[in-house]
Amino acid sequence: MILESKRLINVILICLFSSVINTVMADAIQPIALTNVVEMEVLAKDKNGNDVIKRVPAGKVVPGDEVIYTTTFKYSGEEPATDIVISNPIPQFTIFKVGSAAGKNTVIEYSVDNGESFHGTANLKVKDDQGKERAIEAEDYTNIRWTYRGQLEKGDEGTVEYRVVLK
């Protein structure tokens, strides 16, 4: 019995070890490093006592709160990277804050069909229960896509971001 337990522990250790290796290897071969963070804005005081809006990690989020997703990408490959597309589904239980998506040097498009098709805001189309086209609402947005203009050279980095409200 004891022997069996030991063997089990060894198996678990090996599994853990191999998953660590996998992660390290996976990171090593990815020349674009992505960092996704979620934050919220709080009112704080600067050193002169003035009100300033500060971003803090999204730790105390309750329904109705707005959070900001910021993705940083950094390129470390030797050869330039091309055809760069960043995509992000609007998380479950949240509603996109229309107009909040940003990203320097990118073309921003949206999906209202879970990422099957992407369009600029003006070309998004949704239908009502009777199949008639209706005005688009914030809740219709399902995905955001940023297409980078041009290519990334070694050391290039940038950020894209958008905001959602927790239902």
Partner: protein, 341 residues
């Protein structure tokens, strides 16, 4: 093959979203983990590459409560009466399961005439909306039988204030009370909105005190009244004198022979309990003749016959209208016309 697995995963997750939205229309439940994965796709040396990163946060619990009176107006009571009932509804409008306890104030700030005595709080244990005695509805003892309610306004509980009314009060005397519902999470009730209660939310997430400060005070008022009283006010006006040779068709006209008088009876009930089977009778005045088919009740014509289903008739020169049971504030207007002989 790979595509079909991904497709299945998408289908499953869509199904989960639909279920969750239906169950939690008001706010995302406390403890829900919100996960977001960003993906970048690109080409390097002509070969496609993908990289992802996932970030999560947990939804914290917000503690909020709503408590509203279910009485449409002041509750009418007799002086020197026992176990008079005020009715309230408590609702959990936070996003986590929460327990609530209740307290009363027999003499809150505000103008009134008396303080009810022997006040107690009861829970509508059988959820029939009516106070039941004999141990059916249980008396509330804070910390012993606090009320646990599910999140997001889907769960409510009727609560009663039961009290005695002192003797020697007069009609119109008011007794104001106040009932308070408090969330029982330690440190929540009465704290400033935004106060963080570390680890005290559902599933160990932090709890935040909401805009209601996790505590609501709601007033209720007893008003002393007599037993039911039915008042009748009778008015008469001449509405047409053309048949008598005049030219007036709008009241007031001249009370000449042939002119039409309209009688109007306003019936108003006030007080406690029910006046059962109220029947109004009025004799046609001497020297006048009833104008056929002129009885109305609340503007609706009644026939002159006593053998049909409507509420009124004329027999032996007496108008009869059956108003049925009347309770406080019920009012009816009866009219009929006569011609001056």
């Amino acid at each position: 093959m790979r595509h079909s697995i991904v497709q299945n995963l998408i289908n499953i997750s869509l199904f989960l979203i639909a279920i969750n939205n239906a169950a939690y229309a008001l706010g995302t439940p406390a403890g829900t983990v919100i996960s977001n994965t960003v993906t970048v796709e690109y080409n390097q040396n002509g070969s496609p590459q993908t990289s992802t990163d996932t970030v999560v946060f947990s939804v914290q619990e917000i503690i909020d409560v709503n408590l509203v009176s279910q009485d449409a107006s002041n509750v009418l009571v007799l002086t020197s009466s026992l176990d008079q009932v005020l009715t309230f509804l408590v609702t959990n409008i936070g996003n986590g399961i929460e327990e609530f306890s209740f307290a009363f104030d027999a003499s809150p700030i505000g103008t009134d005439d008396f303080d009810p005595t022997n006040l107690r709080i009861f829970i509508d244990s059988n959820n029939n909306g009516v106070f039941d005695t004999g141990g059916i509805d249980v008396e509330h003892i804070p910390a012993l039988n606090d009320v646990s309610l599910d999140a997001n306004g889907v769960d409510s509980q009727v609560i009663f204030i039961v009290g005695d009314i002192p003797p020697a009060l007069i009609d119109g005397d008011e007794g104001l009370i106040e009932i308070t519902a408090n969330a029982t999470t330690a440190g929540a009730a009465g704290s400033t909105p935004g106060t963080i209660l570390v680890g005290l939310g559902d599933g160990g997430v932090d709890a935040l005190v909401g805009l209601t400060e996790a505590s609501v005070d709601t007033p209720g008022t007893y008003e002393v009244a007599s037993l039911i009283d039915v008042n009748i006010t009778k008015n008469a006006q001449v509405i047409d004198d053309t048949a008598g040779g005049g030219s007036c068709t709008t009241a007031p006209c001249s009370p000449i022979p042939g002119a039409i008088i309209q009688y109007s009876l306003d019936v108003v009930a006030s007080g406690i309990d029910t006046a059962a089977n109220v029947v109004i009778t009025d004799a046609i005045p001497t020297d006048t003749t009833y104008e056929p088919s002129s009885i109305t009740l609340n503007g609706i014509p009644l026939t002159d016959s006593s053998v049909d289903a409507d509420a009124g008739f004329i027999a032996a020169n007496v108008i009869t209208v059956n108003l049925g049971d009347l309770t406080n504030a019920d009012n009816h207007t009866i009219t009929f016309n006569v011609v001056i002989n």
